[in-house]
Symmetry: C2
Subunit: 287 residues, 2 copies
């Protein structure tokens, strides 16, 4: 089966593949684009990663991930913000090394409530503070920060940004080329406002990346790993994809799946299944 030209494999989908393997199996499957994670990039070092990506001929769609912005002021918060600056630098370097059509997008996961805190409003305001601090740095680097709303089941321990509307509200004070949002079906499919907020994200120029995977119950014991191939669950990819396409979004679409069973498969198998799944659930709604 021919891979959709807009499909990008997010490296987390083949979590146990090192960078060389991830690039090779993605390119070998005829996929044109890849989203990378910081750990495997830093395992080989940025300079080497940049060269490997360039040699692969693949586009680069996103870098995952920055964020974790909810800590109060102090050395840990400073270290986190410094680390985000490094992530911005990595994103710029990788986007420059990817094939034509690469995008310099750094996905941000806001972070959860600090240990012992119940102050969700305060945590959210510290996310805004962090964006204010990082935006000029990202702008100079030509990088778009993509705020990713995570499903509300992660609202306390991982990400205090829970809806696309909230991500857009957070982004509103910044230039859309600098701060946008990640539209990930897994996190937002349930939202009664999802279609109006996708349309709004498009109008405001803030769809930094569109990511797809499916939702199915029962959830596994570790709910972080409850993502599935498109078509295996209940998400309406037709309606959501058309809503994104109608905004004019015309860039890569990433498949990002965290799933212990899928991770246990050979990466070649996983990429082949991803290509098929994308072709039947997403591709028909792209034109």
């Amino acid at each position: 089966m021919t891979a959709d030209p807009r499909l990008s494999i997010n490296q987390a989908t083949i979590k146990y593949a090192d960078l060389a393997t991830a690039l090779r199996v993605t390119a070998d499957a005829g996929v044109r684009s890849i989203g990378l994670w910081r750990e495997p990039v830093n395992e080989v070092g940025l300079d080497t990663a940049v060269k490997m990506l360039a040699d692969s001929g693949l586009r680069f769609s996103t870098h995952c991930r920055g964020g974790f912005f909810t800590l109060p002021e102090g050395p840990e918060r400073r270290a986190s913000l410094d680390d985000n600056r490094r992530a911005i630098d990595e994103t710029a370097a990788l986007a420059a090394a990817g094939a034509e059509g690469s995008t310099a997008v750094l996905v941000l996961v806001a972070g959860g409530l600090p240990e012992g805190s119940r102050d969700l409003v305060g945590a959210r305001s510290r996310v805004h503070d962090a964006l204010t601090e990082l935006a000029p740095y990202a702008q100079d680097a030509g990088v778009t920060l993509a705020i990713e709303p995570l499903h509300p089941m992660f609202g306390s321990d991982r990400c205090v940004v829970s809806t696309l509307g909230q991500a857009l509200d957070l982004a509103a004070d910044f230039d859309p080329s600098v701060v946008g949002a990640a539209v990930d079906t897994f996190h937002i499919w349930w939202d009664p406002q999802v279609y109006e907020q996708i349309a709004r994200a498009g109008r405001e120029g803030r769809i930094a990346t569109y990511q797809v995977c499916d939702w199915k119950t029962p959830l596994p014991a570790d709910v972080l790993l409850s993502r599935h191939y498109m078509g295996d669950g209940v998400i309406d990819f037709a309606s959501l994809t058309r809503a994104v396409v109608e905004t004019g979004y015309d860039r890569d679409i990433e498949v990002e799946i965290f799933n212990a069973d899928i991770w246990a498969d050979a990466p070649e198998t996983v990429v082949a299944r991803t290509v098929e799944s994308f072709a039947t659930t997403v591709s028909p709604h792209l034109s």
Copy 2:
């Protein structure tokens, strides 16, 4: 410790107690009100349950539960709507038997996506259809139907109503004395719009019940059982309770906890812990 006069024990918190035991341990703890479930009521029969409730001297705060409205037209949907009419009758009879200050509120869980369906929009519209069908019956019986938004992690398999705002939108076509919303901290604490929607629910006269319990991670393998005593998790009961009080809500406040460890304890122990937990986390914000 003296129980707060507004505390109501939802029977699900002591799931394995039969009706007689639930009424006895609640009253013995000095609690003034109870919310009942249909199964233990029907185990003894409605007439007997009515008499037992009257004899207990307790107020009746809610009946749990009706709903499951998302099936397409057919015999199963008809059976479900008939069952909701019986639940309305039960609610009216129990509320009339409870002590002064009892409320005739039937909590509704909307239901999930029908097997094999991905049509969330359609499922939601069938919830509205069911309310339209049941509202006159509820009105005649003097019962308020309380739409309960459930946490979005239940959005596909249990309840397609995921936010308080969505519940209020669904309720908008009906008289507030007939269709309201259940405000349950566990389900809505994460919502970026929670305070504005609580205020709206108050303005629109639609807070049919206020229920409390806590959220904590990691979630257990069965996420349905991830509810905790108030204070054991991350929910800000001070802010949420004050928001509810500011709307003028002055009725009972239920504690409804699904938790396998808590269910394994003796019901007397659970009620005592609930009384304490309520006194420290909710009572200070009620005046």
